[in-house]
């Protein structure tokens, strides 16, 4: 049976998904992107093929997406991660009409039609404050990992607003306020709420429609998801699959369809 690959070459990680003609996912793999996109694309593709006991020659088509999508030279086609993400979200949850992808470097919101095609989209403006990087920086300065920060946020009964928009300034503000005795849990909840609010801003102009699907690295953050639910209502998350794989799934499907 023919196999198709989708590779998402992102700024932080490179993801690969293999599917068969029927659209069943055969294998997935994720590697850190490092500084050489070509190497990471080759490495992830090799790894996912190894898992399926196959080689490059077994692939009927490859579609790449993400910032490094033009670099590898391996692809039959390169597509934007927005299109791929929409497609992947629709595959995982066909009732999806709004997709929010929270990455380390950017956040995207997409409106889909009932075939999974992106009809409108919006990305964050030049600013880290609406991306995963915002939380990563602050987690590092608080000497916490993201999972623990998310836990504290979920558990907190109190939400202390962090209004400062600038990621760098927010970091200073957080440290200063904790030094002044404000509870870290409340502050962390405030941070997640601030990020959720900026992500919500991206979506409003798209006339949000249910079902709302959240993916990307940010979808693993329970604290952020909870705050997003406060803004958006009920949301859907990828089940049984790494939340970062959605664009790669979409890319594989496009490879199959082309």
């Amino acid at each position: 049976m023919a196999m198709f690959a989708g590779v998402d070459s992102g700024s932080t990680s490179t993801k690969a998904v293999l599917i068969d003609e029927g659209g069943t996912i055969i294998g997935t793999h994720i590697v850190p992107s490092g500084k050489d996109f070509r190497k990471s694309v080759e490495a992830v593709l090799q790894a996912v093929l190894d898992k399926a006991h196959s080689g490059l020659d077994d692939l009927a088509a490859i579609v790449t997406t993400g910032y490094g999508r033009f670099i590898s030279g391996l692809a039959s086609k390169a597509m934007s991660e927005i299109t791929c993400c929409g497609r992947g979200a629709h595959y995982l949850h066909p009732a999806t009409r709004t997709v929010i992808d929270i990455g380390g470097q950017d956040s995207k919101a997409m409106k889909l039609d009932n075939a999974g095609k992106v009809v409108q989209f919006s990305l964050n403006d030049k600013c880290a404050a609406g991306t995963g990087r915002f939380l990563e920086r602050i987690a590092a300065s608080l000497e916490l990992d993201l999972a623990r920060m998310a836990e504290l946020s979920v558990q907190s009964q109190e939400k202390l607003p962090i209004s400062t928009q600038c990621t760098v300034f927010a970091e200073t503000e957080v440290i200063s306020r904790i030094s002044n005795g404000e509870p870290i849990e409340g502050i962390v909840k405030g941070l997640h709420s601030a990020l959720a609010s900026r992500i919500f801003t991206l979506c409003v102009g798209l006339n949000i429609e249910k079902d709302i699907f959240i993916c990307g690295g940010g979808a693993k953050n329970a604290g952020l998801v909870k705050e997003l639910e406060e803004c958006l209502g009920e949301v859907v998350l990828p089940h049984g699959i790494d939340t970062r794989l959605v664009p790669a799934i979409g890319a594989a499907l496009i490879a199959r369809d082309s």
Binding site: D125, C127, P161, S163, T164, Q165, C166, F169, A170, T172, E173, I175, S176, R177, S197, R198, F200, T201, L202, C203, V204, G205
Partner: protein, 414 residues
Amino acid sequence: MPTVKAKRLESAIKLSAAIRKIYEDRWRNKPLAWSVNSSNPLNDISRILGIYVAYPENYACVCTAQHLSGKYCTIAEAHNYKPELCSYIRNNFGYLLAKDGEHPLGGIPDPDVLLSVSNGCLNFIKWFDALRLYFDKPFVLLNTPHRLFDHDMPDYYLDYVIKELGICIDKLEKISGNKLTDQKMRETAFYSREQGKYWRELLELNKSVPAPMNLSDLANLLFVPTSLSGTKFGLDLLKEAAAEVRQRVQNKVGAIPEERHRLVMFNIPPWYRLDFVNYFAERGCVFPFSDYLRYVWCTQDIDSSDPMEHFARKALSFGHNDGHGATIAETLYSCMGKRLAQDIKDFKIDGAVIAINKSCKIMSTGGLDLAHLIRKKYGLPVLVVDIDQADERTYSDAEMKQRYDAFFDTIGGA
């Protein structure tokens, strides 16, 4: 947190109560215009014609002071009003788009007409154009051209504005169904002129040591020239304020307990954190003058015997006049001449705070050159900070205090 608070002027307290009444009472009337807080003669004229005038710009300050700017700006940005737009505009559209929920002072009722003047920034026009498209209401704009350099303004500038004013008046008379009377015009022009005199007197009184008013007092009183221009009520308030301040000068009552340093502030203060002056006051620093209050409003005494000419000149003179001819809504460059040198001397200034305000290019362009000038030519310490006037999300207490504290060290361990 600051523990020192400047003594508020009684007249400023009275004004605050009056503002509340204006919002809750006067602006509930029809027909209602929305206008800019500039030297806009259309404001004075509309009142004569029975059109009430409300100010979304002032309302943005109110919302900001009540810490709603984060909410409103976020909503506006979600509707494509990008973060680079003036925060007054984002506050305003955020308020309009917020729909549900309570709004400070009950909000402002929708307008029947939009008024603007081009003597300030381009946003005065673009904002109100956007509002008239939003509300689908008439838009009356008084165009006053910007003379880009300091040289004598040719007569045809004034002729042009007088004629444009006439065109605007025709439109307002049709909208209101009323006609302007010469008597009412003269009276309004008279009050406008007199208000200017008292405003300038207040500014001059602050040359005294100790300074009888701090930045926040004058900023509060600014409501009169911006929103009560041409009214007897506004004039009476300024008269009271002037009398109160004269008394303070006589009794050597200062706005802050222990005045050790006198600073000048450039740019619009952050309306959500006007109490930053208290942090400075704790360290013996008072702000006897600011460019926003001294070089922008009522800068000239304009004869009111010919009301049309008075209003046209007033619109054209919005901004600093350094004696080279009436100039319009100036950048900082225009005050970098003799006038600033004299004021630094007369006000006994020993330091400057220059805000670079993302929302206001008109007040920020030139800030960097100004900082260099003050440091080099006058040898004074300067603090340059990024402060947005009405978007609280841009302000971080911790970061700003770090900068303020470093500045205090440079002006001699205040």
